[in-house]
């Protein structure tokens, strides 16, 4: 269809309307088993061509860095780039509406059936697998840091120790470790 504009797809692709933003994010959550990120990339970059691969990576890198749930931040940043604050709102609602009601449904089911023996056993089996998934995520993220020189590996381990083992309050730990880590990075930047 738009093969001729392949060199600058974002310039050629029409800017989505509010309704299109809402529907796009709503559809992503419909297919979002096992993580929503791959589906988001597929829809924006490959299907709709609203962003180039590079633009998508830039937006995603920013959202990983910002505090808060990454992918929710992505709805907001992307929506606002397309249609301003109201576009952000349309994307945000589209993304959260269905998962919210799915989870409320799950919570209701858990309330009624959480103590049923078969349910207990299944959850008892899933919980250690869920922990394993997080360990794999950490292992992937930690790779580049462990290989780097300087304070980064120490900061990483200290954070995991303070929160994971000592169970100190998050706010206190962050108030101490964030300025220290940024200061060390600033001091060692040359």
């Amino acid at each position: 269809m738009s093969e001729t504009s392949a060199s600058s797809p974002s310039a050629a692709a029409p800017i989505p309307t509010h309704a299109e933003l809402f529907i796009a994010f709503f559809k992503i959550t419909l297919s979002g088993f096992g993580g929503t990120l791959p589906w988001t990339r597929r829809m924006f970059v490959e299907e709709k061509r609203w962003l180039t691969e590079q633009e998508f990576n830039d937006v995603y890198a920013l959202c990983q860095f910002l505090p808060g749930p990454n992918i929710v931040n992505l709805t907001s940043v992307f929506g606002s780039r397309m249609r301003g604050p109201t576009g952000a709102l349309a994307a945000w609602i589209g993304f959260l509406l269905l998962p919210f009601f799915v989870m409320v449904g799950a919570a209701v089911l858990y309330q009624y059936f959480g103590d049923v023996d078969a349910v207990r056993r299944v959850l008892h089996g899933i919980a250690p697998a869920a922990a394993g998934l997080i360990i794999a995520t950490v292992a992937r993220m930690a790779g580049p840091i462990v290989r780097s020189f300087g304070p980064a590996p120490v900061v990483m381990v200290a954070t995991a120790f303070a929160i994971g083992l000592m169970r100190w309050p998050l706010l206190l730990v962050m108030l101490v470790i964030t300025p220290v880590s940024i200061g060390l990075a600033w001091w060692g930047r040359r």
Binding site: G32, G68, S76, F95, P99, Y110, I126, A127, I135, G183
Partner: protein
């Protein structure tokens, strides 16, 4: 129902603060949710917390929806609404503003220092989540084996994690864990 208003305000404040500290996304603040809901408040048991994390991982949708489950458990539908909005609202607004500032200072040295300083913290926070979840969910050798195998397979291959969840659920159903 007067106590409900109080708990809703508490949930709103605590989860909004948590979100603003969630460098590395929702998975970074699971230990703080655990501290809040199990350790310092009698809102749920260790087992219930571990169950809810398992459900959130197995269900479709983003990981952050764990807060919806927790909110519902503590204060019903309005609790679910409050924790979800508190976790997903303020940081989304912040992202709008920071997104613009961030682009403008693309090559500023302070921006690079902030970025370099924050990344190891965010990974450390998710590491803390891995520690806490392992502690609350692994109570047997079989459970430990499930954790290790899931972690290794997920790290090495590109299999959909749902397979690991499904197989582990079958192990549990057969009462092997």
């Amino acid at each position: 129902m007067k106590a409900d208003g109080g708990i809703l305000v508490t949930l709103a404040v605590q989860f909004a603060i948590m979100a603003l500290l969630a460098l590395g996304g929702a998975n970074a603040v699971v230990p703080e949710m655990h501290r809040l809901a199990v350790e310092i408040n009698p809102w749920m048991t260790e087992r219930e917390f571990s169950d809810m994390f398992a459900i959130a991982q197995a269900a479709p949708g983003p990981n952050v929806m764990l807060v919806t489950l927790i909110g519902y458990h503590i204060a019903g539908f309005s609790g679910a609404l409050v924790t979800t909005l508190a976790m997903c609202g303020p940081t989304a607004v912040l992202a709008l503003f920071l997104g613009r500032v961030w682009d403008r200072f693309k090559n500023a040295p302070w921006r690079m220092a902030v970025q370099a300083g924050v990344v190891p913290i965010s990974v450390g926070l998710v590491g803390a989540t891995a520690i806490v979840l392992t502690q609350v969910s692994v109570h047997s050798w079989v459970a430990a084996a499930i954790t290790v195998v899931t972690a290794a397979v997920t790290y090495r291959s590109r299999w959909n994690p749902l397979w690991a969840i499904g197989i582990a659920g079958l192990f549990g159903f057969a009462d092997l864990v």
